[in-house]
């Protein structure tokens, strides 16, 4: 299998607070990997490190055999290939739905206005937001914003998309529409790395699950291994809370 992302001995400390300890795992092309675990276990920090929004304290992040923590690769062009969807959407408030999805295409991918527009609409259509191209982010509901954010990430045609708790800021009614879009992407073979608290969803779409606790990977394996036959007592305890 084609390994596109490899994390080796990754650590991150904020001052004296150790958030990530010696993280090792890899993502194959086409994988849907879910990272689960309690709040504060370092899941989001891990994603932010992968996208270089945080600088890792030590360790390596290898993307297509190139180490992105060193100057081997251009940071901006790496980020363009690794999409990110945030918990708080982070849509550009000074742009409307359409231009939010066009900005990166025009600047980074150097597409023409027309090409960028077409592809933006194509991806907005995919997430069901094409009719809203003229709306500003403030005028949308949370679920709609997140769908636009996913379209914005898709419009860059990334090789992998990182989802940082994409449904945690949404009320239950809106969670469904976002998960629906993600389900669709997973089916189409998009490589995804998802930090989530939606256990049923993780179980349904992922083929690889990583359980984190206290900044370490406690257990990882296939969906079945983690959800059906967890080995570690900590994983068992964590999952038992979702089985009521």
């Amino acid at each position: 299998m084609n390994q596109i992302l490899t994390i080796q001995h990754l650590s991150k400390t904020f001052g004296t607070n150790v958030v990530l300890k010696d993280i090792d795992f890899h993502v194959n092309s086409g994988d849907v990997t879910s990272i689960i675990g309690a709040s504060g276990s370092g899941k989001s920090t891990l994603l932010r490190c992968i996208n270089l929004l945080e600088t890792p304290t030590s360790g390596d992040i290898i993307f297509h055999k190139k180490n992105v923590t060193t100057a081997q690769i251009n940071e901006a062009s790496y980020r363009a290939k690794v999409g990110m969807v945030f918990q708080s959407f982070n849509l550009f408030n000074n742009h409307n739905v359409l231009t939010n999805c066009m900005l990166g295409q025009k600047i980074i991918l150097k597409k023409s206005e027309e090409e960028a527009r077409k592809s933006a609409i194509k991806f907005l259509d995919k997430v069901g937001m094409a009719p809203y191209i003229n709306a500003k982010p403030q005028q949308l509901s949370g679920g709609q914003k997140q769908r636009v954010a996913i379209a914005r990430a898709l419009a860059m045609e990334p090789e992998i998309i990182l989802f940082d708790e994409p449904t945690s800021a949404l009320d239950p009614e809106m969670v469904g529409e976002v998960l629906e879009v993600m389900r669709k992407l997973a089916k189409e073979g998009m490589t995804m790395l998802v930090v989530t608290h939606e256990m049923d969803f993780a179980r349904e779409i992922s083929n690889h699950v990583v359980y984190m606790g206290d900044g370490k990977i406690v257990e990882e394996g296939t969906c079945e291994q983690i959800f059906e036959k967890p080995q570690s007592p900590r994983t068992k305890e964590f999952l038992s809370r979702f089985r009521k």
């Binding site: 600088t55 959407f89 982070n90 000074n94 600047i107 860059m156 469904g176 629906e180």
Partner: protein, 265 residues
């Protein structure tokens, strides 16, 4: 009838009749300097603001770090010096200093524009920095996540939003500039206040001349503040939007209709 026999209103009318054109000319100079200098000041402020908010990465090279440090120190000195001393003295210092030391005789316009611009720039630098800090960090992260550089993030995402937030402060600066150009009379710039001094000196009618000039100043500043308010409303854009269902590019045949009520399971 001599001017000493006239009533208050009569004297004001006399000033307007006889000196109206020079007052208008003075007002024109004042407005030109204020507008040009506020614009240049904003550009300086934005440039300084961008540089001051560059964040260094741990792995950026040493030369870059040192260069940025030196530039930041110079910018800090610039901001602190021009905010911290009276513009009237700066005008005298630069205008007479350049003549005495460098043998450069600046023209009235050059000197006026230079002094007011760098002064406004110093204030604007801090205003812009505040404007940039007021924008949610998520906006920057969203832009970086699609691969934009610091400069691109600033130009396309952060500064347009910061500009909207600091519009009231830019308006403040413009109004302050309209009034503060009067200190340029120290270097002989013939603006509105200089005209007032000439008129009152020629006629010995300080009260009336001051009243007329005050009214002109007020008209200038009030008009500007209204125009700026209108501009702010325009920047906010329409408060509603249309659904683009008829757009030919929107591939309406394949439109995906979402059932928003669908549950998560």
């Amino acid at each position: 009838m001599t001017i000493s026999e006239m009533s208050f209103i009569g004297r004001m009318l006399y000033i307007v009749n006889n000196y109206g054109s020079s007052l208008l000319k003075g007002a024109g100079v004042t407005m030109s300097i204020a507008l040009i200098c506020t614009l240049i000041g904003c550009i300086i402020g934005f440039a300084v603001g961008i540089v001051q908010t560059i964040e260094l990465k741990k792995n950026s090279n040493l030369a870059k770090k040192i260069l940025l440090k030196i530039v930041n120190i110079i910018l800090n000195i610039y901001v602190e010096f021009f905010r911290g001393t009276p513009m009237m003295l700066q005008a005298a210092f630069i205008y007479y200093g350049s003549a005495q030391i460098f043998n450069v005789n600046m023209g009235m316009w050059q000197a006026a524009i230079l002094i007011v611009s760098i002064n406004t720039g110093a204030y604007m630098a801090e205003t812009v920095r505040g404007g940039i800090l007021s924008i949610d960090i998520g906006q920057t992260e969203g832009a970086k996540a699609i691969g934009l550089s610091h400069f691109q993030t600033m130009i396309h995402v952060v500064l347009p939003q910061a500009l909207r937030n600091i519009m009231p402060q830019i308006g403040n600066n413009l109004i302050i500039n309209i009034k503060d150009t009067c200190v340029l009379s120290i270097i002989g710039t013939v603006e509105l206040f200089f005209t007032f001094k000439s008129i009152s000196g020629a006629l010995y009618t300080y009260f009336e001349a001051a009243t007329v000039t005050l009214i002109i100043y007020f008209i200038l500043t009030f008009t500007c503040s209204r125009i700026l308010r209108h501009l702010e409303n325009k920047m906010d854009g329409p408060s509603s939007y249309d659904l683009a269902t008829t757009d030919t590019l929107a591939l309406t045949s394949g439109l995906n209709h979402f059932k928003t009520k669908k549950g998560s399971k």
